[in-house]
């Protein structure tokens, strides 16, 4: 598609999908059509300014308005945002530097627990004085702190293990993530740091620093929708910052060094690239993104427990990066969005649909084989429960047929 007609077509499509999503708030398909508008916007050939304007219109105005009508849209969008941020972080490690990190979720967990412990009464268990929970105003301090803590743990883990060859490194990071999870799961004694498998709650939400502004503007947002909207914009800003940082890094000296290491470590070292320092930096940057997202996640969830930080999550994020294309920023975004939509919307929708069929007791007639009552469909047969199968298939199929991903990185002049 190209030229002016394409833009008008796109505008028409955006309007149509918005109306659809607005008037059929229950329909998964309508929301999917809306999401597809963003994808089309990426592909359509149009002046940059128009594209940015349309993208901002979609993300900053239309989506929140739709979200006011149906909170589910916002919830899905926040989840997508979280995974996009995680995928962008992992993309640096796996895509740019070429190190397979199977324990990425550990850094996410560290960030989440950082805020969870101090942003809830939990910290009173081991720090006397009854200072906790900290007031919500500390949220942003912890957001910054988590970046430092994430980078530090990333570097600490990286320091000893980065000399390992690729597949060993993968296993060690996996082991590290399991150690972190086991610690979180068991550190409710001798001192109760994490409250073990029971998890931590209630975790403070971020401060409503803009409340006076809203009042001044005369906007009334119902309390039930205020926080979802707030988190939506928060994650949007966060993803925006991450994208900018990643892009700047990618086209900097550091980014070129990373890619040189990925392509051929020995050659890079011979050309004077400080291999270990650059690898550490990549590890730390990825970890700090994940850790910051973790803080946001725990504030959004109010309750967290170790179940949210399993190996499954690491693989999910990896599948997103692989699907989109290792080393590609649009790829990571597309992959994260696609997999999250698949998980939250398509598989769940399919499960609901099958449940409906089951209850309707309709008969499925197969020629020559007789008929089959759908009410006999086993209750265990629920697509939403088989996300591992989906992730697994994505990984295998992509590796065999398109290892570079759906949106592989474009060759820029500095390569």
């Amino acid at each position: 598609m190209s030229g002016a007609p394409a833009i008008w077509g796109l505008c028409g499509y955006i309007a149509a999908s918005c109306l659809l999503a607005y008037f059929f708030p229950q329909s998964v398909l309508a929301f999917l059509a809306f999401q597809a508008a963003l994808l089309l916007l990426y592909y359509v050939a149009a002046p940059r300014k128009i594209k940015i304007f349309l993208g901002a219109l979609l993300l900053l105005i239309l989506l929140p308005v739709l979200g006011m009508a149906n909170g589910y849209y916002l919830e899905v969008s926040i989840q997508i945002g979280i995974y996009v941020a995680l995928a962008l972080g992992l993309n640096i490690v796996v895509g740019f530097v070429g190190l397979l990190n199977l324990g990425f979720v550990a850094f996410y967990a560290i960030g989440a627990y950082l805020w969870a412990i101090f942003g809830s009464p939990q910290a009173n268990q081991f720090i006397p004085g009854g200072w906790f929970p900290l007031s919500p105003n500390w949220f942003f301090v912890f957001l910054l702190l988590s970046i430092a803590v994430g980078a530090l743990t990333g570097a600490l883990l990286g320091l000893p293990v980065l000399r390992l060859r690729g597949d060993y490194l993968a296993i060690v990071t996996l082991g590290f993530a399991e150690v972190v999870r086991a610690l979180v799961n068991n550190l409710d004694k001798p001192i109760n740091l994490t409250n073990g498998p029971r998890g931590i709650s209630p975790i403070s939400k971020p401060p409503l620093f803009f409340e006076p502004l809203l009042e001044y503007a005369g906007l009334e947002v119902p309390a039930a929708q205020l926080y979802p909207l707030y988190f939506y914009f928060l994650i949007l800003v966060m993803v925006g910052i991450i994208i900018i940082v990643t892009r700047r890094l990618e086209s900097s000296r550091v980014g070129r060094a990373w890619k040189a290491i990925r392509e051929d470590e020995t050659a890079a070292a011979a050309m004077g690239v400080p291999v270990v320092r650059m690898k550490l930096l990549g590890f730390a940057v990825g970890a700090s993104f994940a850790s910051a997202v973790g803080v946001l996640f725990s504030a959004k969830q109010v309750f967290i427990n170790p179940e949210s930080f399993t190996f499954m999550e690491s693989i999910g994020v990896l599948a997103m990066v692989i699907l989109g294309g290792m080393g590609s920023i649009p790829g990571a975004i597309l992959g994260a969005t696609g997999v999250t939509i698949l998980n939250l919307q398509l598989l769940k929708g399919l499960s609901l649909w099958l449940n409906g069929l089951r209850q309707s007791g309709a008969e499925l007639v197969i020629p020559f084989l007789g008929s089959y009552s759908l009410s006999q469909l086993p209750a265990q047969f629920e697509p939403a429960k088989y996300e591992r199968m989906v992730f697994g298939l994505i990984l295998i199929v992509m590796m065999i047929f398109r290892p570079q991903g759906v949106l592989p990185p474009t060759q820029t002049r500095d390569q």
Partner: protein, 322 residues
């Protein structure tokens, strides 16, 4: 300390049983790594498959009313043979479908494909059992002959199950040793592990030898699965992950690619874990208990890789092809 001495024999027995289990699984990792230099991440699912085949055979025998009628040794043999056979075949199919198309490319590509295969198999097994039995948590049927115990001393009562595990594993390991060192096929496997290109020039059908390696490794994994099931009774499609990781640790501990190393590593890790499970809480006055045994195993893995990446018996590892 008295208490510590009192439970020592029991801890040793537990450790040996675990050790044999890990050794059997570790062999699958190590043999495949030997010929392909690639971590077969889905090996833990081959292991679980063995456990499920075992439970299915026993349940089928039970529903046919044969479980009590047949001699226990026959039942055992039947379960083990089907488990090994199917696991071995599954491993070969896995290699053919998910690995062979990607093995020419970069290493990470193959590893990611293996992780995908692992996840896929977990849920495929779950789906199958859900449709077939309506649940995917399966219990081995109680089989009276396996439940007996043998008193071997004052503080030591050994269940027959443990003896079965130990005996079968020992026999298999001896058989494997003979196979690898005394038969033509075994020599072919070692030749490919040493240098596939030269082996190919000498007339060794490399691809077929790789498939054979997957079969043998898979069969050993399947055997471990059956023994795991008999020993611990309860299996589910996800129960392979932790044993798989530990067995991999064992393989690395012994020196990956090295067959005696895998046996040694498995045994050491099994004993270490049994000791950690029993003595950690004694040593720290209950502050840290048996729940840290997994942490101990993973820490061991990380430490070995940092300080002795080639493992205890590690020989020369070929330069990475990168």
């Amino acid at each position: 300390l008295e208490l510590a001495l009192e439970i020592l024999p029991q801890v040793l027995v537990d450790g040996i049983v675990l050790g044999f289990m890990y050794a059997l699984i570790a062999l699958g990792y190590t043999m495949v790594y030997g010929v392909l230099e690639f971590i077969n991440f889905a090996h833990s699912e081959i292991f679980v498959l063995g456990a499920f085949v075992g439970v299915e055979v026993m349940l089928l025998l039970e529903s046919a009313g044969l479980l009590g009628a047949l001699h226990p040794a026959v039942v055992l043999l039947l379960v083990i043979c089907t488990g090994m056979m199917l696991s071995g075949l599954a491993a070969v199919a896995l290699e053919r479908i998910a690995y062979r198309p990607v093995l020419g490319g970069p290493r990470l590509v193959a590893l990611i494909s293996a992780i995908g295969a692992s996840f896929f198999l977990q849920d495929a097994l779950r789906l199958f059992e859900s449709l077939w039995r309506n649940t995917f948590y399966l219990n081995y049927p109680t089989f009276e002959a396996f439940e007996r115990t043998v008193p071997l001393g004052q503080n030591l009562i050994v269940p027959i199950k443990s003896l079965i595990v130990t005996g079968t594993a020992l026999a298999t390991l001896a058989g494997l040793y003979l196979f690898v060192h005394r038969t033509k096929l075994g020599i072919a496997i070692r030749a490919v592990a040493q240098d596939p290109d030269t082996a190919s020039l000498m007339g060794v059908p490399v691809k077929r030898v790789i498939a054979l390696t997957f079969f043998v490794g898979g069969a050993l994994g399947g055997l471990a699965g059956v023994l795991f099931g008999i020993h611990y009774s309860l299996v589910n499609p996800y129960s392979g992950f932790i044993p798989g990781m530990k067995a991999f640790t064992a393989a690395v501990l012994g020196g990956i690619g090295n067959i005696p190393g895998a046996m040694l590593g498995g045994m050491m890790l099994g004993l270490l874990e049994a000791f950690a499970a029993s003595y950690l809480s004694l040593m720290t006055d209950g502050a840290f208990g048996a729940e840290y045994k997994d942490v101990v195993a993973f820490l061991v893995l990380i430490l070995i890789l940092i300080f002795r990446p080639r493992g205890l018996l590690g020989e020369t590892v070929r330069e990475s092809k990168a």
